[in-house]
Symmetry: C2
Subunit: 202 residues, 2 copies
């Protein structure tokens, strides 16, 4: 994307992204103008175009960055050793922690898929599939090692991701349960959902 290098743009870029994300989350992409984003940042609308060619690119870059951050964070955090159940527990806890810490980006990434151009939609869908495939591989490995029962690994990966992302709709920092406790409750359900009879001993 067109981007002016240099200190001005290096400082302004993150502020533009933050303002756009917050405004898109609050009002929806279609209802937010470049002028509004500029106003939130405290620059002239024209200054935005030094940073991004248009609103579509701004939305796409927000969603791309979110998905790439998610992928690289998991790839860094995924256990290097341990079987499929160890991987699945790590994935479960990682997904809840990452997504609750970026609720606005998660919301916009789901809600604004409809507002991406067809080419941009394909690219974001590809990244989303990459992430789902990480979980699918864990489920396939678990089924192969006979520590899990998973008849449809692809569908199971989407089902579990939807379940885990759902934490965002109700979790509050000051609620009855800490995030660690929430992780434990979900991990118990995830574990059971793929466990054969042998896997429920614990």
């Amino acid at each position: 994307m067109a981007r002016t290098q240099g200190s001005h743009s290096d400082i302004t870029g993150p502020r533009i992204r933050a303002a756009a994300l917050s405004l898109f989350a609050r009002h929806g992409y279609a209802a937010v103008s470049m002028r509004q984003i500029a106003g939130e940042v405290g620059v002239q609308a024209g200054a935005l175009y030094n940073y991004t060619p248009d609103k579509q690119t701004l939305l796409f870059e927000l969603m791309r960055t979110h998905m790439e951050d998610l992928l690289s964070a998991w790839d860094t955090e995924a256990p290097q050793a341990g079987g499929a159940m160890v991987q699945l527990e790590a994935f479960t806890r990682f997904h809840i922690r990452f997504n609750t810490s970026r609720a606005e980006a998660v919301f916009v990434s789901y809600m604004e898929l409809r507002n991406l151009s067809p080419e941009n939609f394909e690219l974001i869908e590809g990244l989303r599939r990459d992430y789902e495939t990480r979980l699918e591989a864990i489920l396939r490995a678990g089924a192969e090692a006979r520590v899990m029962v998973v008849t449809e690994p692809r569908i199971a990966s989407m089902a579990l991701i939807a379940m885990l992302t759902g934490v965002n709709t109700w979790f509050r920092e000051k609620g009855r349960l800490s995030l660690a406790q929430v992780e434990a409750v979900y991990w118990d359900m995830v574990r059971r959902s793929v466990a054969g009879e042998a896997g429920l001993g614990a």
Copy 2:
């Protein structure tokens, strides 16, 4: 809400609701004007106000109707006999079928919560809680009868509903699996997610 009775309004009302739902789903509530909705229906903007006092009321009525339809459909369909596992299977299949058949209303109901006035938000949240409570009661009954293991019935109900609603994000009528097959895959996961060792015999 203010509503002119009579044949004109009786015909126009459903068309206004359908147009508003479709436009809100496509562009988002904030980006859609009453004029646009009127244009889609083929009436003057002024005619809309015979039907609804404002756009907020229109959104609220769409969401209220959706939640009330969901609740009354489940209350009609819930098995009159059978234990908690029978109820849970019926709920699982019902939720997937109802929600995939009304994808736009489900999407708007989730996405536009942020655009409800505080009082309207409370009312819709109350209906949502009523629905979650139906599932929670099944899980509590199952745990009490020792046919299920559910440590946190409230959280489990939200987790399962999120998982089941997720079908909407990927299911396509002409896909590899029929809706009945999808129901079966999800029911297997739901059943396992709450099953103790004894429950996995099948």
